[in-house]
């Protein structure tokens, strides 16, 4: 059994929050560069120019990439042979997030669902735990903004709808979202499982790198088909038209009930902020 001090987790999580909000991942920047070179419309290229300049300015000034610093979503892989000293793991993650959002001058966006009163410190952190073999603790932080999250959906399809139904639902969802979620977007798709697992899988899928090709060739083919199809919508960067509506589609499958075909579409804006640490 390995012991990790709570303080180590708090500090690591605070740093994750600040870094995720300030530094755009290299794969996203590379995708901007590729997409800009391929766009024929001047308006579309100008959007990429601004996004690249924005990323450079955030890095240089310490300002967050986007004013919407999101809800703090955490995927945590907890080794079965690791324990925390000095407090609980959920509490440590929450404390680290509160500190990171405070020290990093990040916007606090959690509020009461009805009174809309701001909680004030961005808490509570939304944490998903997975128990895994080993004595390590892997924490992935995602700063998920509201604009793209609002365009996401869960749908319980009938099994007979199959891949055709899945494909149509995903494409229509992106079409209906239009310019709202800050395209070019990344689309996470959870297929199978049940109501909540499909949703969690659609978000977990977004943690994969953009150029990562799925190990299962059939799933890889689904991802490639969805990406090409969505880009034929012509919504383009910021909805101004063009060939880059989507930078990547990531699918995560799970077995499901014989009566069900759960499907979740989690839309991620171009500011795909996530970062991980292994303790």
């Amino acid at each position: 059994m390995r012991t990790i001090d709570k303080k180590t987790v708090v500090e690591a999580v605070a740093a994750l929050c600040m870094e995720a909000n300030r530094f755009l991942p290299a794969d996203v920047l590379a995708a901007f560069a590729r997409a800009k070179a391929a766009e024929s419309s001047a308006a579309a290229r100008e959007v990429f120019n601004q996004l690249e300049e924005n990323a450079a300015l955030a890095k240089e000034t310490g300002l967050p990439l986007c004013q919407d610093c999101g809800l703090g979503v955490f995927f945590v892989e907890v080794g079965e042979d690791v324990r925390l000293a000095g407090g609980g793991l959920r509490e440590a993650i929450n404390e680290g997030m509160v500190r990171g959002y405070q020290d990093g001058f990040l916007r606090k966006s959690t509020c009461d669902p009805f009174s809309r009163k701001n909680v004030g410190d961005n808490s509570p952190a939304i944490v998903h735990f997975d128990l895994v073999p080993g004595d390590r603790l892997k924490i992935t932080m995602m700063a998920k903004g509201g604009g793209s999250e609002n365009m996401s959906r869960v749908m319980m399809l009938a099994p007979a709808q199959g891949w055709k139904g899945v494909r149509e639902f995903v494409i229509r969802r992106v079409a209906e979202s239009g310019s709202n979620p800050c395209p070019p977007i990344i689309v996470g798709v959870g297929i199978g499982g049940n109501f909540e697992l499909a949703a969690i899988n659609s978000k977990k899928a977004l943690m994969r790198e953009l150029d990562d090709v799925h190990a299962d060739p059939e799933v890889a083919a689904m991802e490639a088909d969805l990406l090409a199809s969505i880009n034929r919508l012509g919504i383009g960067p910021m909805g101004l038209g063009g060939g880059t509506t989507c930078l990547g589609v990531k699918v995560k499958l799970a077995p499901c009930h014989l009566a069900s075909l759960p499907l979740a579409v989690n839309i991620q804006c171009h500011s795909a902020r996530h970062k991980e640490v292994t303790l």
Partner: protein
């Protein structure tokens, strides 16, 4: 695709020359307001009270900035998605609001009100919060401080870059998704 440099407040003459696709650099005072602030402004109007800033010729920016770092007037300040303000916008347009800055599509009643009231919807680049925040030279909270990031602020901007999405003659810059091509 013309380029304009405009100073706020905007006049009918300013708005009438703008067309969807034009690039505009705004200088002067603009006001912030998003979901919760809009509700309070409309509640104030219902109660016969004055809005927190003069609506005549005003430009409202749908934004909830991140906190200012020491030495800066404001943090990151990119646009939020505008459709959430659609139910309030026609009323404000009737009272003289001339410009709205946000991102994403507007509902038909808002587009119609822009035509009848001579107003315009500007798009700013979503997510470019650092870049846009650095074009804001001064910021102060003027109403609803308790709303935090959603409070109403008076911003002084210089060459703030926006794009005309909806103009006052029915022009709409947003691409219509080609579902047929995508579903193929």
């Amino acid at each position: 695709m013309a380029e304009h440099h405009l100073t706020t407040p905007l006049t009918d003459a300013d708005v009438s020359k703008l067309r969807a696709g034009d690039v505009v650099y705004l200088t002067g005072v603009i006001y912030t307001g998003r979901d919760a602030a809009h509700k309070r402004i409309v509640d104030a109007l219902d109660a016969g009270e004055n809005p927190p800033f003069p609506l005549q010729g005003a430009v409202i920016y749908y934004v909830g900035p991140s906190p200012a770092r020491p030495g800066r007037p404001i943090g990151s300040a990119g646009p939020t998605t505008s459709y959430r303000m659609d139910s309030y916008a026609p009323r404000l347009l009737k009272l003289g609001l001339k410009g709205m800055i946000g991102k994403g599509m507007r509902a038909a009643p808002v587009r119609e009100a822009m035509e009848t009231e001579m107003a315009v919807y500007f798009g700013a680049t979503g997510g470019a919060g650092a870049l846009l925040g650095l074009r804001i030279k001064d910021a102060k909270v003027i109403a609803y401080e308790d709303l935090g990031p959603e409070a109403v602020r008076e911003l002084t901007v210089e060459n703030f870059p926006v794009l005309v999405i909806n103009d006052c003659v029915g022009g709409d810059l947003y691409a219509v998704p080609d579902l047929e091509a995508a579903l193929g």
